[in-house]
């Protein structure tokens, strides 16, 4: 009975689970915490919107009722802008459909399409982090791998000329994946061979990547005539990932590539021997070793694949959206993706859903800033709150008086800190 009695909770688990089994968790049970976190984040965001608005304060000065009314108006304006800016205005969409005017339809649906564009790099980067976590590794180096991937894709995109699109475009995309893969492999190799912790090494690799790309863009890869500004030449048309509609609608094929890659990651993790290997090492490295798995190989493989996914995030931004590389390429995709992976429970489907959420929020935030005087930063705050609540489910549970799950929360991501190689 040595394993018994760790704490009352474990005892309780043991007692009630023998031999009965806990009921299967419903979808709502799984998604409940993230959904409530999002809701709570929006509520707290609303309070902040009201509290930081000068008009609301002025109104409160004239009377409590007036203050409340003004706060309500302010919040509604902001969130309405957030939602119409990111999902579109339903009334306008219906009107455009009934009018049958193709241009008007496209315009009406542009907000939601733009949200998908914004979500695309998040999906790749989130998958990179999730794959790392599933394999017991905390890849904080996604941002750096993304930059290297983008640089590689850019180079192949402008330096090679005269290829047909069906060769050039995939080649540039894969070059991006390869660049990220190399950048991920290095810390993976160091961890497997020397035990150097991937958290520290990937952070350091980030700095190397930032400075390296800065040098590349202002030196060997600089755009002729840019006067040494860190900016690459435009990529060839044959390297571009096609956009579906005329400008300014940027919705592109990369979004569907992201969905396919998400499916492939799921398939790899849960349906193949490679995935079984990665997950076993990620969940219990000791048992993996006892069962004869090569943990070092698994770590290197995981970091390489994770880096490749991060590289794709950079590649897709260059090839589909920007068509050239500048230093402002990423608005912190690599770091936000850690949050994404956690909200998505490190499951590819969860990552896709949380990426859609982040992309939508980001997209809506721009419009919110234009329509109302709400600073775009409020969206950062909302994102941060959501993340905090997801990371500490106990808060949500105590707010909504939810019962503790009978099984321990899946916390695969913690094993990366154990330092076991």
């Amino acid at each position: 009975m040595t394993e018994d009695k760790k704490d009352p909770g474990v005892v309780f688990l043991k007692e009630i689970n023998e031999p009965e089994e806990k009921p299967k968790k419903s979808f709502l049970g799984k998604a409940g915490i993230p959904l409530l976190s999002i809701f709570t984040g929006l509520v707290i965001g609303a309070i902040l919107i009201a509290a930081t608005s000068s008009t609301v304060w002025t109104a409160f000065g004239q009377g409590f009722g007036k203050g409340l009314a003004e706060a309500w108006r302010e919040i509604i304006t902001a969130y309405k802008a957030l939602f119409t800016g990111s999902l579109g205005d339903p009334a306008r969409m219906i009107r455009s459909l009934s009018s049958g005017d193709a241009v008007e339809i496209r315009r009406a649906f542009n907000p939601i399409l733009e949200s998908l564009v914004q979500s695309t790099p998040y999906i790749f980067a989130g998958l990179a982090v999730a794959l790392g976590f599933r394999s017991g590794l905390f890849n904080i180096g996604v941002e750096g791998q993304l930059f290297i991937g983008a640089a590689a894709a850019t180079y192949v995109g402008y330096a090679i000329k005269g290829l047909p699109v069906y060769i050039h475009m995939p080649l540039a995309f894969l070059a991006g994946a390869a660049g990220g893969a190399i950048w991920g492999f290095i810390p993976g190799f160091l961890k497997a061979k020397t035990g150097g912790h991937e958290v520290i090494n990937t952070i350091m690799m980030n700095w190397i990547a930032f400075r390296l790309t800065e040098w590349l863009l202002s030196g060997p890869m600089t755009r002729p005539g840019s006067g040494g500004l860190p900016l690459s030449p435009m990529i060839e048309d044959s390297a571009k990932i096609p956009q579906f509609f005329a400008s300014p609608i940027r919705f592109h094929l990369g979004f569907f590539i992201a969905l396919i890659v998400a499916f492939l990651v799921w398939w790899l993790l849960f349906k193949t021997t490679w995935g079984m290997n990665l997950r076993t090492v990620g969940t219990n490295p000791r048992a993996a070793k006892y069962a004869g798995l090569d943990t070092g190989k698994s770590i290197m493989l995981a970091m390489t694949l994770s880096g490749a996914l991060a590289g794709m995030a950079g590649a897709v931004q260059v090839l589909a959206v920007n068509h050239s590389m500048a230093l402002g390429l990423s608005s912190g995709y690599g770091f936000d993706s850690i949050a994404l992976a956690l909200i998505g429970n490190n499951h590819p489907l969860g990552v896709v859903l949380s990426s859609l959420l982040f992309g939508t929020l980001r997209n809506g935030a721009t419009r919110m800033m234009v329509v109302s005087s709400i600073p775009i930063d409020i969206v950062d705050v909302i994102q941060a709150i959501i993340l905090m609540l997801v990371a500490a489910p106990a808060i949500i549970r105590s707010i909504y008086r939810l019962r503790k799950p009978k099984q321990e929360e899946p916390q695969v991501f913690l094993s990366g800190w154990g330092g076991q190689s």
Partner: protein, 519 residues
Amino acid sequence: MTPILELKGITKRFPGVLANDHIDLTLNKGEILALLGENGAGKSTLMNILYGLYQPDEGEIFINGEKVTINSPTDAIHQGIGMVHQHFMLIPVFTVTENVMLGNESVKKLGFLDRAAAAKRIREISDQFNLAVDPDNYIRDIPVGVQQRVEIIKLLYRDAEILIFDEPTAVLTPQEADELFKIMHLLVEEGKSIIFITHKLREVLDISDRVMVIRRGAVVGEVLPENADQNSLAAMMVGREVDLEVEKIESHPGKVVLSIENLTVVDKFDEIQVENVSLEVREGEIVGVAGVQGNGQSELVYALTGLLKHQSGKISMLGQSIDKFTPRQITELGSAHIPEDRQLDGLVLPFSVAENLVLCTYYQEPFSKGVILQFPVIMENAKKLIENFDIRTPSAVTPVGSLSGGNQQKVIIARELSRPIKFLVASQPTRGLDVGSIEYIHKRLVEKRDEGAGVLLVSPELDEVMKLSDRIAVMFRGELIAVVENKGISKETIGLLMAGIVPDEISPADSSTVAETTL
């Protein structure tokens, strides 16, 4: 006389389970009451109710005839109830005094800790109950047996009258356990009362004044130890007749499957853990490795399974040298390994039963084709093994972590024994399991032997080694000090060997191999 503690009709329901079903319990002053039951029988729930961690749904608690409610461990301590947990609640970098004071600090003026006063009290308690604890020692420097006594002092320091011991011998050597029993006797002589939770039958018969048996949340009987024996207690506990003796036919050792020559293993701190060990295991025999835990048995197993490279010496398995083999190569050679810690080393707890059952073989046909896992085959395999090995699980996709300890172990046994193996290393295969599961696993090991596999059984439980082994090898401080036939050898002799003393009756001529000994 009013009993010091009385529980009446205690009932506790968890969703879907009746953990405690109208349990009545009486504890008289100055007696040792043994609470006997399998894992999951409801002992822990009952004690957690008594200790204030759970509230009963029904029932009443009386202390000295007075009705009380216990809402928290603090309440329980206040009522004079104390618990010695199986896993100690001690802080290694604190001294004994600091640990005992924690939560009940004596202070001088201005809030300074008064360590001297506390240490004095601890000395008094230690002398009164013959505990031999030095209050100034750091916890990390004292052996497990003494740490346990510190836990006891913590309770006495808080004037506990009712002491609950939860599986106290699980972490002790036989000698330390005997010491503990003496202390327990002394405690009751001094007027304390003890509830002793265990599933070890021999201990119950040895020291308790009264035995209460719980099964599936209900009291199934109360007996006096003088009117009971191990078989009758086991039957009450499990609910059917249990074979405590393992039936075994004469062994017919065949070819050598494992041969170890002058093996020396150093651990990662460069300390020699196994020194110059030579041993052979043949087909169709069980060789038991006895020894107090920490005498190099674990490192010997690591070397045999490829988890730790040995410094010098030769190991060959099934005629091949495995000195440079990886764990997987050794497995593929036709060997199996039941690791000593099933949760840390043997299983991936969040994974399903089906996945755990193919943990060593998932990459081979038919469980995968190329890189693609064949889930229908994996599920089919799981269904077959769940049935053959009687694994009690709601389904093959249930996470293994939600099964009971016994069933988790069965998953490992099923995984390892279902392969066509020639050699098996079983490291503490029944650690922490209840009588029913132990009986089952012992039968399976003997079965494997009779099918012609060589088995190396490593266990600190001397009873287990003596029951199953055909030959017994005793390890002491990394060396094999004797290998003897398990015929007519007494437990005392093995006990002496475990302590490093070679009795006269074991002359080199009697034993098959006697390693050079420095004694």
